[in-house]
Amino acid sequence: MRYLPHSPQDIQHMLQTIGVPDVEHLFRSIPRDQRTERPDDSPGLPECQLRRYLEGLAARNKNFCVSLASAGAPFHAVPKAVETIVGRSEFQTAYTPYQPEVSQGTLQAVFEFQTIVSELMGLDVSNASLYDGASAVGEALLLALRVHKGKRPVVWVSEGLHPHAKEVVRTMLHAFGDVTIQWLPLDPGTGATVLPGAVTADVAAVAVGYPNFLGVIEDIAAVSAAARSAGALSIVSVPDPANLGVLASPGALGADIAVGEGMGLAGTAGMGGPGLGLMAVRDEYVKQMPGRIVGQTVESRGGVGYVLTLATREQHIRREKATSNICSNQALVALAFTVHLSLLGPSGLRDLATLSRNRAMALRRGLLGIPGVRPLVTGPVMNEFALVFPRDAAGLRAHLADNGIFFGVPLARFCPERPEWREAILLAATETACPDDIAHTILLVKDFYREGK
């Protein structure tokens, strides 16, 4: 085996030094009757066969030329330089930076990541990452429950979060126990979250998407003000932080906690992950944050350096009283995010968000010009939107798929029982779609309905 360096002579020498006759002896502490009866002795594959098999598998996924879907997994054009940096052994094959003297590279990069995330979110402090945007919402809700020391056992969560994120949140809070989720409906007309009256005194937090799953830009300022007036925390979930190049930051609109999914900008959205859970909070909540945090400090020779800090929040010190059980996070994905945002800079981020928005609007306008196509909801959108098609949305999507276009995600997939979603498709565009792609798509949709396929 190419990853095992010992020669037979090495092994003999080592066994002699240890004082055992053979390798089997090293396992004598395992009682015989607990050993595997028939060890699996199947052979391995040489690299050429591995390649052939895995390349074959990869080829059996359909790769589209044009993707007009986001639905929580946005695809952005990530420069090759990002992959090059992230692929460096020094970053990829390092452990968690517990020995700061030989981990300053990772630590400083995380410090820069935290700065970028807090800037995007408009809040004071970011952590070093969480698993994904969905579990980040769950962690944010648990944080809010801790802030209120269990005295507020209810959380208000918008129905407009990504359906899968809602399920993750439900799993997490159900397991934790002693908390009630009140789901806030979406207005059937506008698609924006409706608060069922004033926030009550038993509510720890109000959580909404920004934009929400239907692409509608929620009125974060109003939701945050409503939460704040009742002493509840405002949690804002950002499915694609690229949009924050154009949209106001959650913090500027009054959010106390902003979470998000950064994999689109990190370039890891393929197959939905590794994800990148983002979380930023107001300074007063930093001690309740889950996950690792890097801080700047000094070193014994007088220079500036970085360390993992505020670790008494974490499981390895506080055990059952920790703010979370998270240990491994998504460090390398966070690095990709940091490198990409550093390349973009403020103008690049704005351009990227603007192009995504403009392409999406061109697509939306073109499609709405086709007789019978109408918006599902009327609220303001950024680069994602839901349209209702006159008939046979499934046939339409299949037709476009045959032409190499991934034409959004059918909403019926998430809620088959809702009649108004039956022919609705959730579409999005990013800077990766060219104007020609958009025009071609619109033409194909026109043809589909004209020909009455």
């Binding site: 030989v102 990772t106 500027a252």
Partner: protein, 495 residues
Amino acid sequence: MSTQIHTGLLHREPPIFELSSPGRTGHALPPSEPLDDEGLPAAFLRQGAPLLPELSEVEVVRHFVRLSQWNHCIETGMYPLGSCTMKYNPKINDAMSALAGFTATHPLQEDEHLQGSLELMFQLEGLLCRVSGFHSVTLQPSAGANGEFTGLALIKKAIDVRGEGARRRKVLIPDTAHGTNPASVVLNGFEPVSIVTGPEGVLLPEAVRPHLDDELAAIMVTNPNTLGIFESHLKEIAELVHGAGGYVYMDGANFNAIMGKVRPADLGVDTMHFNLHKTFSTPHGGGGPGAGPVGCTAELAPYLPVPRVLRTNEGSYRLITELPNTIGRVHPYFGNFAILVRAFTYMLENGGAGLSRVTEMAVLNANYVRALLKDTLAVSVDVDTLHEVVFTDRDLKKETHVTTMDVAKRLLDFGFHPPTVYFPLIVPGAFMVEPTETESRVELENFVETVKAIVEEARTDPEKVTSAPHRTGVGRLDETTAARKRILRWTPAKP
């Protein structure tokens, strides 16, 4: 502020924001356009750009390459962190996970357009079942701790289904456990109860017996435990726990010590997580992403998170999301998929025989280090160990006042990453070495000679050891100041 060369090839890099100057950019997007703001209320628009650096691609690349050079990594040298399993990460794994067929695929494509990924997940689940003896596996948990949460949630669900949820809330955890264990217990609404490891470093049935009542939900055991010792009574303990109506969770962080030798399901374990980033060679990435798939028995399988991958009679694959008793989703899509591809590649390359050999060599290496070092540093518990060995600074500290932390920091001067220190908590000044199977005999001997030299130095020139490291790019970091002053992001200097 200008970049100053610190020492030789090591460049001191200021925070990237300080390298910025207005008007530069490192992106190559299509030409900019004015914002199409139709229907966008002005109140929703960002006022003022976020503070991001303005740099060309050259400068960004150089900044991060320079930063990278401040890191120790497995490809520069040995990384003998106990319980962390820092083994070599094969290159072919990375190449396979980077195939466009995987990376350019939207996770919400139709099943028929995801057949390759679905088959991969189905096959990987099968391989993990085979090596562990479990009935089913879910690949969704993002890391070991997320796997712990998921496995415990299965147990909680089973107890709820039996109608005992209100009463069965105790989870027994040995005092050698990793901190994630009690934290995961609490996240499931359970109560952790600490139990004491026996004098031989293993859990004894006596420690469990007092807790065998109708409040017992589960026991959570790492096997081999964090002292590197096989929990030889686990099978008997599992029978006791099952007899009392509870379940057995095994923390698979150390599965690499028994892979191919013991199937946890055969010991009576009900559910366990695998750390793909430990046992199955996927990179640690400076802290993640990892992957923490969970295996379980047939009894717990109905509660596994959705989606599940199913093979149809025609040999195609599809996703099942509607399962009546599932705990729900634990990940929005399929877990850390790119990590799953790497682990799958590794398992296929090794085959069952190769994985057993990996285990054997890991245990050989740890025992070789132990044999060579046992007269230099005291072994914490003098019984057989498997893939790692825990030393203690008890004698050294008494004799020289030099501690485990000092030895660890001095190791940095010789190009070695230190072992895990001060864990497990029950060993005073723990110094926990896990060489892994991918270290050569020469490298192991170099490590041992270095530790011996440092221990000798502790006698002759203790100051040299206690003030280490001397040759790293930075000296010891002031963690107290970091916690007191809390500088958690870069801010521009006040004019």
